[in-house]
Symmetry: C2
Subunit: 336 residues, 2 copies
DNA sequence: GGTGGCAATTTGAACGATCAAATCGCCACG
DNA sequence: CGTGGCGATTTGATCGTTCAAATTGCCACC
């Protein structure tokens, strides 16, 4: 009776074919224990033969859930394909949890909040992943007020004591490890090149450098450089540090972009080897694109994605679990 | 009566508040001409006051459409953040057309087709964008047989006469322009470095080089190099070409990765200027990451995305419009 | 003043699934 | 032999929207 086209097999069609009621078919799929084994087998055969797949819109309507996670993406800037890689991990993690990732790109900045609200109110998504949390991000309290489920990738800098759920990677630890690595390779004067003060993650990475240097009683005077993310400006900043009387022999950097700049500033010696050893952050393609390849600190993006999805799905499913912060450790990828 | 929580304002709530029936509210939103101006105003006020937004699942169920476009993403390989950039353009274009982008990442290769089918059968998406069309891609006939709407970014290489709809960028034209540019700058011996024969787009780019060189009566013997996408192998291949008695003074390349390899192989002269001039393809961050920055051929990704979305939405909306191919032109971004 | 026509609005049904409650068949037990 | 209980299955209602058809109110026209 119902449609015969590819998309048109409904639960009633299956019920008719198997000689049972639609609820029994539903039970076979959602509560198999309630159904007698042979009935279940018969129903399953009918499902197979008709190629039945439950209609998602109907399920969503009934269950008041879309099983979609919203993610805002912005025009790509910078050299890292960070989002590219995180997106894959996130999509895979969401898929494993029975969710899909739904992307949106607000056209104007001031409509961004409205778009978030709309997606929730229309039931298009069940919650959000925020992968671009900024210092004192005003979205966080705004979401919290409205009971909009969300999880941050990145600590809620400047509002750490708020009721927010997040997953982050310990940047200070990563940089600390990088300094250890360089010291173990004989370096004593290790410089830091990264963002100017004000970005939470940048400040933290710089602290990791200070901590490790301090632990080894090494001097840090004049060994710090800051600039925006950009190869050219990073190279300039690194040159200034290298021009000093007692220049560094190595750099740890806040990003691979800064690191590439430092490498360019250092140049190569007669044997084609870099004059300064540089460790980047993010292990982006830039780290292997440059020759010889560069060491970099890799964030465990798969793990981050799994944890983010796990936290978000429990929050979405209504259990008002308390806010939770998860800190993961990055890993130094040593090259050459 | 109905829910009072954020997500719970229904069309009936609005109708009650405005003193009309639910269908009138629906008409105000979907067919304003049918409603008397003052009634419409009253309804709109009620919508505003209650913050009503139509439930997407209910609309989807009723309209038998999800207004979602499916896109498969795979684990990122290579140095380009191509997908990153295209994804943004695509999301923005979809949004402008009233659609969302829904991502999925099949875990195993052999389940990929099943995942596509599932997404369509469950009504989770209305159609697909294929951004990774390979030569003789078996997905294309498979989709066509099943009447699954899709549009390719990239010509259906090896099955150009099939009933497929696609948008592509004329790579031969781009490379041709690059050769013209180099010749105008005084180069006579322009080499080509790109993929081995067999990838449709790679073969085509090489043809563009041959065509332009031939038009100017320039020799191409020994000036062609092929290798997989990778900086190290590209550098080796370029070195072999440069080691010849009459080496090239410039390269046009199939990708920015090949181009970076060529630049590394060429090295810098005493003044820090590249010994060979290189033009890449894709204008990825790699082009500006390398110093001095590199010229590259930019694909009009925004335009591609708009056309892809336009074609897909018309196909989705049931108009069985004939298959259509759209060819766009890339643009040389000359640097230094 | 009855009727036809038309614009504005309402009612009933459907989309396809799931939950809750009702019903059925069967067996055991007093 | 009637009844209680239990597992298996079915029926009715609902989620929130839109389409199609029915209804209402109003004016013009004969």
């Amino acid at each position: 009776m119902s449609g015969r086209d590819a998309n048109g097999v409904t639960i009633s069609d299956v019920a008719a074919a198997a000689g049972v009621s639609r609820q029994t078919v539903s039970n076979v799929l959602n509560a198999p224990a309630r159904v007698a084994p042979q009935t279940a087998a018969r129903v399953r055969r009918a499902i197979e033969e008709l190629g039945y797949r439950p209609n998602r819109a109907a399920q969503n309507l009934r269950e008041r859930a879309s099983r979609c996670i919203g993610l805002k993406i912005a025009a790509p800037i910078g050299v890292s394909n960070f989002l590219d890689r995180f997106l894959y991990s996130l999509t895979a993690a969401a898929g494993a949890a029975g969710y899909h990732l739904l992307l949106f790109a607000p056209t104007a900045v001031d409509e961004e909040l409205a778009v978030y609200e709309d997606l929730i109110r229309t039931g298009t998504v069940d919650g959000f992943v925020l992968a671009d949390v900024s210092a004192r991000d005003r979205r966080l309290p705004w979401f919290a007020e409205r009971d909009i489920p969300f999880v941050c990738f990145g600590r809620p800098w400047g509002q750490e004591d708020g009721p927010y759920t997040w997953v982050d990677v310990d940047g200070a630890y990563g940089i600390d490890q990088a300094v250890e690595h360089l010291i173990a390779r004989g370096h004593q004067r290790v410089a830091y090149l990264g963002w100017p003060e004000g970005t939470g993650f940048g400040d933290e990475r710089r602290k990791g450098w200070l901590r490790a240097m301090g632990r080894h009683g090494l001097d840090t005077d004049g060994l710090i450089g800051v600039c925006a993310e950009g190869v050219a400006v990073a190279a300039e900043a690194a040159e200034r540090i290298l021009a000093q009387p007692a220049p560094p022999t190595a750099f740890v950097c806040g990003s691979d972009t800064h690191a590439v700049g430092a490498r360019l500033a250092g140049g190569l010696d007669a044997n084609g080897r870099p004059r300064v050893e540089v460790v980047g952050f993010d292990d982006s393609p830039a780290a292997t694109l440059i020759s010889p390849r560069m060491s970099s600190i890799r964030q465990p993006l798969d793990e981050v994605a799994r944890r983010v999805v796990g936290l978000l799905t429990t929050r979405v499913q209504g259990s008002d679990s308390p806010p939770e912060g998860v800190m993961l450790r990055p890993e130094l990828v040593a090259r050459e």
